[in-house]
Symmetry: C2
Subunit: 207 residues, 2 copies
Amino acid sequence: MTPPTDDLDAVPPGAGLRERKKAARRLALIDASHRLVAEHGLDAVTVEMICAEVGVSPRTFFNYFATKDDAVLGHRPWSLPEKTAAAFVAGGPSGVLLDDLVDLVVGLVAAPPPGSARMRRTLELAAAHPRLMAHHIAWMDRQKEQVERLVRERLGPAAAHRPDTVTALLLVCVHATLMRWDAAGGEGHVREHATAVVAELRALITA
Amino acid sequence: MTPPTDDLDAVPPGAGLRERKKAARRLALIDASHRLVAEHGLDAVTVEMICAEVGVSPRTFFNYFATKDDAVLGHRPWSLPEKTAAAFVAGGPSGVLLDDLVDLVVGLVAAPPPGSARMRRTLELAAAHPRLMAHHIAWMDRQKEQVERLVRERLGPAAAHRPDTVTALLLVCVHATLMRWDAAGGEGHVREHATAVVAELRALITA
DNA sequence: CCGCAACTTGCATTGACTGCAACTTTGCAT
DNA sequence: ATGCAAAGTTGCAGTCAATGCAAGTTGCGG
């Protein structure tokens, strides 16, 4: 059914067969859902269809994703590179909180390459379907914890700012950056967009 | 079944019987869902239960709310007072964009009294159930359009800032304000919290 | 009191999602 | 290789949210 675009071993760097198969299936499911949604529209696509396309039982589908929408969005836990995280906690590349947030954003957004093409498709779908955007935002919010821990560590106990506010701001940056990146047709490095966003916020707030 | 806490006519200011009944039912459904969720937990509560509690058909339930979660959240389209909106578009109370955002926030949050008690219950539930928080955020995002129009009008064609960025910032403010208000146990005027949030953002960005 | 429009309701249906128990595959050690 | 345990897959049966449709009810204006 599925043209094996992703060869089993084409997917992950190292690790056992089990891992690879799993990752491959996961991507296959995501891609299949994208294809089908593009063709039939989000609501017309059923889990069954996606499974048929990939050749997997519907029951299995839910071993991979909690919901249909999660598959379309291809969500997986965020994880930003150790190095970036450590640097940020230690006082960040620049020492200026806001600027360092940019690096965090870049780390979060640009880091994991489940393929940036895939990511663009995801963003486009999200932009088209409010429900998906909803899920997307909600998911970002869930990742907040993780980020907030970093912020907390960096600020230390004698925090001049409330960590949750900082985090909230960070999430806006991420979101705005992604939207710009998408609006720009996926052109340019994420960093440029992130920088632009922060610059604009600065201008806006000091106005 | 339901102790008629809200008398029919206790609910809305004017208008015909039809309207009043509708509003009353709406609130009854919301309250019933709150009661049931508090007792059994979100996932254990079915639409049927809620309906039984209020004495309406399940089918009717969906004439009032698109989803079960919407009922719990008691969402209805935002509408900020004409006056506030007009003032903002005209250049806002203070003329400083960021400060005027505060007023917008207050207008949005404090304006509609479906009862602030009800609102607190809602926020608490949202805080407890990630899925609800997701819906809540998603819903806020959907209202964005409305707000963004205002921002666009105020900024005019020669916009110094991208409206969507401003709006994004506004939404963070709303969210942060609500969270603080809730964290404070519903104490104090919304405006105080909103002001605090903005002040902090300022400090944070100019640091 | 009549008739329209607004609502409500039951019925039937689809499709997401879950728990369970059996079955298959992979990883690993002998 | 061979065998075993853990990891993963699948079918089945069931619950529940959500929707379209076609008939009832009911508030409202004349």
